[in-house]
């Protein structure tokens, strides 16, 4: 086992363990904090994949904005569902069965794919992934249109969120 494999296994175990805590913890504030550690593990996975920009965006956008938004929402809606009462619904075992089945299905689907043991090729010398990504996002020959559509979507979502959550009194 090489060092990279050991690091990957530790990161994967940490991430999956925190993800499991996210869906099983009774206290929702703790679940949101476990989500922060899950997202951090995913950021480390991006770093292991040489996707530096994605790792930074994961920390800034997911941990810095989305997780904090979750903590705010939990605190704003906390009054009636503190820690008493069941946190799972009556059919939680159906959900558990379905997710185990989905995992088994994906696992066996992957077994039939012949590229499974492929390892990554070396990044060519002089190739700068971040500047290539910036070029791809702003070049008319590449992905400038999806990029602009994403920004319009964000504006629409922000306006919609303000409208939905606005308190008319």
């Amino acid at each position: 086992m090489t060092g990279e494999q050991i690091i990957f296994l530790l990161v994967a175990l940490f991430t999956l363990g925190s993800g499991f805590m996210v869906v099983t913890t009774r206290n929702l504030v703790h679940a949101a904090l476990w989500l922060v550690s899950t997202l951090f593990g995913v950021a480390v996975a991006y770093a292991l994949l040489d996707a530096a920009f994605l790792a930074v965006v994961q920390v800034v956008v997911y941990i810095g904005a989305i997780a904090i938004l979750f903590i705010f929402a939990v605190m704003l809606t906390r009054k009636d569902m503190r820690d008493q009462g069941p946190q799972m619904n009556r059919n939680w075992w159906v959900g558990a069965l379905l997710s185990v089945l989905v995992f088994a299905g994906l696992f066996f689907l992957l077994q039939g794919w012949n590229g499974l043991s492929r390892t990554a090729s070396e990044i060519p010398a002089g190739f700068d992934a971040i500047s290539e990504l910036g070029n791809a996002l702003t070049s008319p020959n590449a992905y400038v249109l999806p990029f602009e559509v994403a920004s319009v979507l964000l504006v629409a979502a922000l306006v919609g969120a303000v409208y939905v959550a606005f308190n008319r009194k």
């Binding site: 938004l69 979750f70 159906v94 390892t119 922000l158």
Partner: protein, 102 residues
């Protein structure tokens, strides 16, 4: 070097955990937490296919960034809906939010 299957199985496990959270939790905010886990699992797959495929093609990373933007929009609208429902009905339990049920 780690083979691609490790990343794919890791992402599949994270997706299944998120799916369990969406299906089993009663609290609407906790359901949104599960959706976040599922979106992250998809993003790991996209980054892994970028790295193990043709690195010069940036499509995988661009797609992951679009998923980031969509996830941010989804969380903003979803939490606004939960807060709005909480203000009117004083509940965040998904079973009790049945105003649109026929």
């Amino acid at each position: 070097m780690v083979p691609i299957s490790w990343y794919l199985i890791f992402a599949a496990a994270l997706f299944s955990i998120g799916l369990f959270g969406v299906l089993a939790r009663r609290n609407a905010v906790a359901i949104l937490l599960g959706i976040e886990l599922m979106l992250n699992a998809v993003n790991i797959n996209l980054a892994a296919f970028w790295r193990y495929g043709n690195v010069v093609q940036m499509t995988g990373q661009v797609f992951a960034i679009i998923v980031f933007a969509v996830a941010a929009a989804e969380v903003a609208v979803g939490l606004a809906l939960v807060i709005s429902v909480y203000r009117r009905r004083n509940t965040v339990v998904a079973d009790e939010i049945n105003m649109m049920k026929w």
